[in-house]
């Protein structure tokens, strides 16, 4: 059972942002552990901070409207361009977690200006749009949104999965043993070899050519993967004639499949609920055996180091799929694992599950449903 966070959430009002940018912020906030931030999603929310993207089609008008409505609200200005006359601290794009949260924390502890007036000399509501000075990039597109649209974009929150708790017990397997252990080791060492089990040739691995030839039927391979201690022998493939057929499957596709058959919903030993994991890059998922939610896990773990516990909480995937994904990525050498520090592990354990949004489906959710044929 997780302990609820001790502090109340800090509500952040985002302005000048479309649904894509809001989704990125929402995800970042859900992952942050030290302070619980949340987007101002409903009209009644009282914001403690604001983030204003001035690269939107309305440019600085959004800022002026903010100052008209909230003269003293601490705010960050976000832009991809230098803004030497920015009236608030500037956060340069692309927004990164490493810069976003220190900037927000700075605002919370030391607001830059206690009560900033609107940028214009008169109330923004009665003024014509302020032409941008030369130092500001001019809006590059016709006005695509106004404050009302921005507001409604916030209210059309994306649908997210409910959080899941890490179970008390997760089965594990020895990643150095069996066919899985032998093949992953050969692949890492870039050693070409024929693999025999009980004197029967099972696989030929050619790491340099990124190919692997499977010499047995799929059900036989599955049975051998499930065997805890098969009698395995190797023969090096070194001769000039020892090359794979041009149409042989890729080494990664075979290793990925072999990992799924070996892990069977179990975690590789050595990877714990609080181990920090990061993927070196995305697996080539269009050419690998399907695994539920592999794409969202790939997106998550290429973005930031995070523990399996955190991934489960953020993504709401099945534990067995998560374990299979880690085993498969480990097999093809994509995983960079480090043990979490005690502080990190504690912080992760203390974070309450992110509440699932109950709002109607936003654009991104609807597009995802469309692509899935729903």
């Amino acid at each position: 059972m997780m302990t609820p966070p001790q502090t109340q959430a800090v509500t952040v009002l985002p302005l000048g942002m479309d649904e894509r940018k809001l989704a990125v912020l929402r995800m970042a906030f859900r992952m942050h552990q030290a302070i619980r931030y949340q987007l101002a999603e409903a009209a009644g929310d009282t914001p403690a901070l604001a983030i204003v993207d001035v690269d939107n089609p309305q440019g600085w008008q959004v800022w002026d409207e903010l100052r008209g409505a909230h003269p003293a609200l601490p705010a960050l200005v976000v832009s991809a361009y230098p803004q030497p006359d920015a009236p608030a601290p500037l956060l340069a794009k692309p927004i990164r977690v490493e810069t976003l949260f220190p900037a927000l924390q700075q605002l919370l502890t030391k607001p830059a200006v206690p009560a900033m007036p609107p940028r214009a000399a008169e109330p923004a509501a009665v003024l014509p749009p302020v032409p941008p000075p030369a130092t500001r990039p001019a809006p590059q597109a016709p006005a695509a949104s106004d404050a009302g649209l921005t507001r409604s974009a916030i209210e059309r929150a994306q649908q997210v999965r409910p959080a899941r708790e890490w179970p008390d017990r997760v089965e594990s397997f020895d990643p150095t043993a069996g066919l899985y252990g032998v093949l992953t080791s050969l692949y890492r060492q870039r050693r070409a070899a024929a693999v025999f089990v009980d004197a029967q040739e099972v696989l030929r691995l050619y790491p340099a050519e990124e190919r692997c030839v499977c010499c047995v039927a799929p059900d036989t391979l599955a049975r051998l993967c499930a065997a805890p201690t098969p009698a395995i022998k190797l023969r090096a493939l070194q001769g000039a004639h020892e090359h794979p057929p041009v149409d042989a499957p890729t080494a990664q596709s075979v290793l990925w499949q072999l990992a799924l058959k070996s892990a069977r919903g179990r975690m590789p030993e050595g990877v714990g609920a609080d181990s920090l994991i990061r993927l070196r890059h995305w697996p080539n998922l269009t050419r690998l055996a399907p695994l539920p939610d592999a794409m969202r896990m790939a997106a998550f773990w290429t973005r930031t180091p995070a523990s399996p516990r955190m991934a489960l909480r953020m993504l709401g995937v099945e534990v067995a799929d998560l374990c299979n994904f880690i085993a498969a990525c480990h097999a093809i050498g994509l995983i960079d694992t480090r043990r979490a520090s005690p502080q990190t592990a504690t912080a992760a354990a203390q974070v309450a599950p992110a509440p699932a949004a109950a709002a109607p489906r936003g654009l991104l959710s609807r597009l995802l449903a469309r692509l899935r044929g729903q």
């Binding site: 590059q140 994306q158 969202r296 654009l363 991104l364 899935r372």
Partner: protein
């Protein structure tokens, strides 16, 4: 009140499969603006896109997502920035049979640098059945030098499932917890 620009941009060199990719998922017959190639493009295909390809996906609630394919030739690069403003994301298709596909990729990353400040990038590698190199791993190592870890997926642009995977990778790059 104007509708938001719900658009996704497909870009890449001549012959990478942008027109085909849009056609394989668009719900309308794609609007193509091909003309007979008259320059170096002729070596790669007889007709090439000279303006924009356009396709469309309709979503629940009457919202539409527009799919734009840019012309691949550099002399049309003045259009790229205009068309990419406000896009949800960028899909770069790389043709593995070209002489230097890694250089092609770097070129398009630079050309769309402004969009990539805000929007996610997805890379689709085409024609890997004809040329396996560079591998997805090679492209990933190249992207790492730019500080990027985008989805890099081999695709056949004629296969709608492959192209849908590219779009889904783009959506999960924005929010891995997204549910449809």
């Amino acid at each position: 009140m104007r509708q938001q620009d719900n658009k996704i941009i497909f870009t890449g060199p001549v012959g990478a499969g942008k027109t085909t990719a849009i056609g394989s998922i668009s719900e309308i017959a794609p609007v193509k603006t091909d003309a007979r190639a008259s320059d170096m493009t002729l070596a790669r295909k007889a007709e090439t896109t000279v303006a924009l390809d356009y396709g469309r996906l309709s979503l629940e609630g009457g919202v539409r997502v527009h799919l734009y394919g840019t012309p691949g030739q550099e002399r049309f690069d003045f259009m790229w920035e205009i068309v990419s403003q406000g896009a949800l994301g960028l899909i770069v298709l790389v043709d593995n049979t070209r002489p230097n596909p890694s250089a092609d990729l770097q070129f398009f990353l630079t050309a769309f640098k402004a969009l990539l400040n805000d929007a996610p990038l997805v890379i689709g590698v085409t024609k890997t059945d004809l040329s396996a190199q560079p591998s997805a791993e090679d492209y990933a190592n190249l992207m790492e030098k730019f500080g990027l870890r985008p989805p890099i997926l081999e695709i056949d642009p004629r296969d709608g499932d492959d192209v849908r995977q590219l779009l889904m990778a783009l959506l999960f790059s924005i929010d891995p917890g997204l549910e449809g």
